[in-house]
């Protein structure tokens, strides 16, 4: 079974530029999550989708971050404009059942 796919693995941009991350969840997983992991911290939930509807986006900085999940499968997370403090690993995860999330390898963003 293929795992959660994410791209790009690494991205370096300057502040005020924009960036987009893509995620393809495990086939059949209805729930998709985006987490932000800053160095030395645990992952923090940004947004949770159930199919293509948003369940929780309370911690998403909506002035600069946006996410969508068209057709209830793939998802993109966009940051525009980026700030220095957005440097982090962006993790996508999906789940079929309650509780256990399967994570991708993450997309590491460096903002200069």
């Amino acid at each position: 079974e293929a795992g959660v796919a994410q791209s790009p693995r690494y991205k370096i941009i300057e502040k005020r530029q924009s960036v987009a991350f893509w995620c393809n969840p495990i086939s059949g997983h209805a729930t998709l999550y985006w987490y932000q992991q800053i160095l030395g911290q645990g992952p923090k939930l940004l947004i949770q989708f159930q199919n293509n509807g948003v369940v929780d986006d309370s911690q998403l900085p909506k002035d600069r971050f946006s996410a969508e999940r068209l057709k209830g499968v793939d998802s993109t997370l966009k940051i525009q404009p980026a700030k220095l403090e957005d440097s982090a690993v962006y993790l996508c995860a999906s789940s079929l059942e309650v509780g256990e999330l399967f994570f991708g390898e993450g997309s590491r963003l460096t903002v200069l």
């Binding site: 911290q41 992952p43 939930l45 949770q48 369940v55 309650v98 509780g99 256990e100 994570f103």
Partner: protein
């Protein structure tokens, strides 16, 4: 506000001995708890979980204990192996928040030969 706390950033254990990783939580609505393991440059991988209706769950060398009254859980690894060296994240979720996981900051475990 950190609802899941792992107060030990690192732990070093000799091979063959027991590793005990601790986790505390503050939200009494949490009813499902998980441990994830993370190697560098990889995403976290699920290790073991426990529901709030239980106080112990065992899977091979890994056992998770839950003390609801103390809002505390622990992961025991016995015997520890060098391949267990990784960062371990404690996570908790609640039905009323869609079971999204709240993570601690992680504990870096080093198992020395």
């Amino acid at each position: 506000d950190q609802q899941v706390k792992q107060n030990s950033p690192s732990l070093s254990v000799q091979e063959g001995r027991i590793s005990i990783l601790n986790c505390d939580y503050t939200n009494s609505m949490f009813d499902y708890f998980l441990w994830y393991k993370k190697y560098p440059a990889e995403g976290p991988t699920f290790l073991i979980s426990i529901s709030s209706i239980k106080d112990k769950n065992e899977d091979g060398r890994f056992t998770v204990f839950l003390n609801k009254s103390a809002k505390h859980l622990s992961l025991h690894i016995v015997p520890s192996q060098p391949g267990d060296s990784a960062v371990y994240f404690c996570a908790a979720s609640a039905r009323n928040s869609g079971y999204a996981l709240n993570f601690g900051k992680g504990t870096s475990l080093l198992v020395t030969p």
